[in-house]
Amino acid sequence: MTACSRKITVAIGLIGGFWLAGVAAASDSTAIRLAHDVCAGCHGVDGNSLVPNFPKLAGQQKVYLLRELKDYRSGKRVSEIMAPLVAELGDGDLEQLAAYYAKQAPAPGIVNDPGLLAVGKSLYLNGNSTTDVPACESCHEADGSGSGKFPRVAGQHSEYALDQFRLYATGKRTNGARVMKAVAERMSEEETRAVAEYMASMP
């Protein structure tokens, strides 16, 4: 083989290699590998976390997921667990992660205290005008599916939801908080628990 033909062979090999890499990226990108290898530990392979303190991500709104991921990266949403995991990821990776979880089918939630469902349903659908709590359904939709920046709440772990209400009420969750802080601090302890149960009960 001449030096020239060897160069051509290498070139063809390189092009082929890039092409293969391109195909691999499309079907199993860094982000998706990350979802399977790292995120799955807490959030489940398909985003249906089995641990009540870690949120379910399956079927979550893509816009919301992307905002949260970016906020974890910038520190606007504070989490010692999430911050180092997303620190090195680029916008493209985050977008793929968000798209991946948004596409997964959400599994039904678990109700811990069915006795609270009636109170939760009433607050979720009508709010409480005595304390100026707006109806949750106006932003999160009657079926809890959310829309855009307003997250899906249906089937979410009630433990996680409760944590978030408390973080908002005490000013510790500061992203998306201008609206949710006002809501969370106007809700009674019973209402908070009840609405978390009702959200978990929604298919």
Binding site: S129, R178, V179
Partner: protein, 235 residues
Amino acid sequence: MKLSPRSSILAALLIAAFSTPAAQADFQQQPRAAGIETYGYTWNSPDQDMNRALAHRADPGKGEAAYKVCKGCHKADGAGLADADYPQLAGQHASVIIKQMMDIRAGRRDNPRMYPFAGEWIVSAEEIADIAAYLQQLPIPSSNGKGNGYHLPRGKTLYDKDCASCHGKTGEGNAANFYPMVAGQHFSYLKRETRESRDHGRRNASPEMVKVLKGYSDADVEAVSDYMSRLKADR
């Protein structure tokens, strides 16, 4: 000036005490702008936020989607809630909704309850214009809250004498002048706002109106509010 080590520690402590927690707690507090209580206050003076909304080519379809954040209290049909003093908004002039929203955003009208749901972090000036256009074309509900009906003749006399010249004979308001439609509004809301205007609590009220209301007793306010709540706007 040279600070002693002790006083600089004190200063540092003071700065820490006043800066961090306050910055956290205040981020959704409504600002306060000069209103009727301030000497030289001009009603409906130009406002950048308001001009942006008024200049926007409003789209009621987009407004329906953006209204999402409002309907948790004001309800899907815009009827509000009589018992909670959430005003009826369906059929209200778009200009009126824009002006009132911008007065609340700027702090000329105090509404700390609604403020977290009204800021630019949740609705842009353009979206407010879209929402206002959407509400304006909704049918006016007739199931609004009304008063006891005992003093309607007195209410009519007062209304025709003092209110009709601006708010219209049938309570239809005046879009060009930012005068709200009062017909079909909840009695409890009208009563509260009229009384607040009289007592300078509604700080974005028109001084002209406040002058008229000065002579109103609580009973007068109630009578005229009851009358307005029963008007059917001719538009």
